[in-house]
Symmetry: C2
Subunit: 197 residues, 2 copies
Amino acid sequence: MSPSNSTSTDRRTYHHGDLRRAVLSAALDVIAAEGPGALSLRDLARRAGVSHAAPAHHFKDRTGLLTAIAAEGFGLLADALREAPGLREAGVRYVRFAREHPAHFQVMFSPELLRAEDLELTTARALAGDALTQAVTTVDPGERGPDARLAGMAAWSLAHGYATLLLGHNLDHQLGKEDPEDTFRALTAMLFHSAAD
Amino acid sequence: MSPSNSTSTDRRTYHHGDLRRAVLSAALDVIAAEGPGALSLRDLARRAGVSHAAPAHHFKDRTGLLTAIAAEGFGLLADALREAPGLREAGVRYVRFAREHPAHFQVMFSPELLRAEDLELTTARALAGDALTQAVTTVDPGERGPDARLAGMAAWSLAHGYATLLLGHNLDHQLGKEDPEDTFRALTAMLFHSAAD
DNA sequence: CGAAAGAACTTGTCAATGACTAGATTCCGC
DNA sequence: GCGGAATCTAGTCATTGACAAGTTCTTTCG
């Protein structure tokens, strides 16, 4: 439909074609490389080849853009966690999600950057929360112990901490050339030292 | 020595007296309340009752201020972890540190905000790392399993994830009115289900 | 004691940014 | 093909970080 490439900077048409996606995509690149603090709406506009105020039409403001990213992230996480074959594998997928979508992950857990009451955000987050809870409650009660709530917090804390430290390059030294996912499996095997899945 | 209060906004003397501490302190308040992104050197200067360029004399720039905060944080963490009576208690202290110094904690693990090569930062971080390693290696090998490196990553991930989720208010719902530290103890008791300390 | 050296702070300036407003262009339903 | 809505442009303002140059206080040392 539009002759313009969604991320190219030259454009003959008045309408971009898919500016929303182009801005989101550029934002994810910037965040992954330099963090959310380096985000500049005007810079994103330049990358997309549009005027400095164009992004605001799609996201309202900087907070709106970040909120959209977080909501998208929770949706992706819910998809990744859905129908995980066991708690262990859910943890692995949580870590994999963080590695594949580092920008989303970072923004999702930076509440001070987000519009907390945003409907898309809260519903997406609730979905992801359900998927997590599902992964905990469906596991064999004999394996996870009597308290599902405690087990859920433990699993989430472990996966979240590992993912966070990984993204912050705090485990580089101890991991060496190992595959982070394999190491995470080994780690959970050690903790739940008779884990079935 | 100086008649001026270190955080008051009115000041008769040309010299503030302890501007460095005043700026650091105000910065910690802002970060704890609104995150590092809300930090403004000019705002901190206003709070301290000095001119807009005064803070730069002590910290060079925004990154310098955040780097100083991170370095201080790693120092405080090393102190908190030093001589912890066992791995479990070290974890509890890690979580306690995050709750008592949320701004430090947040900045310490945001590498994109810091001057990575800063000497004070790297040495302080190394000290804290030593304290953590110490806590892992001194624990009874029969309790932690054969692989100290894996055990260390597991313990750090668990404590770090729990602390992070706690600060992001992601555990509020499941914790209710419980004491977060007690819950963390219960959580570790469940995982290392015969933990001695 | 006093002067030089340096630390602590001020004032002025510039480019960049977020947010807002008003207006131009294109798209779409009828 | 017409009218309203969506998309994008252009202009503006207050705020900020960074830097340069000057002022005031403190300390050192001859």
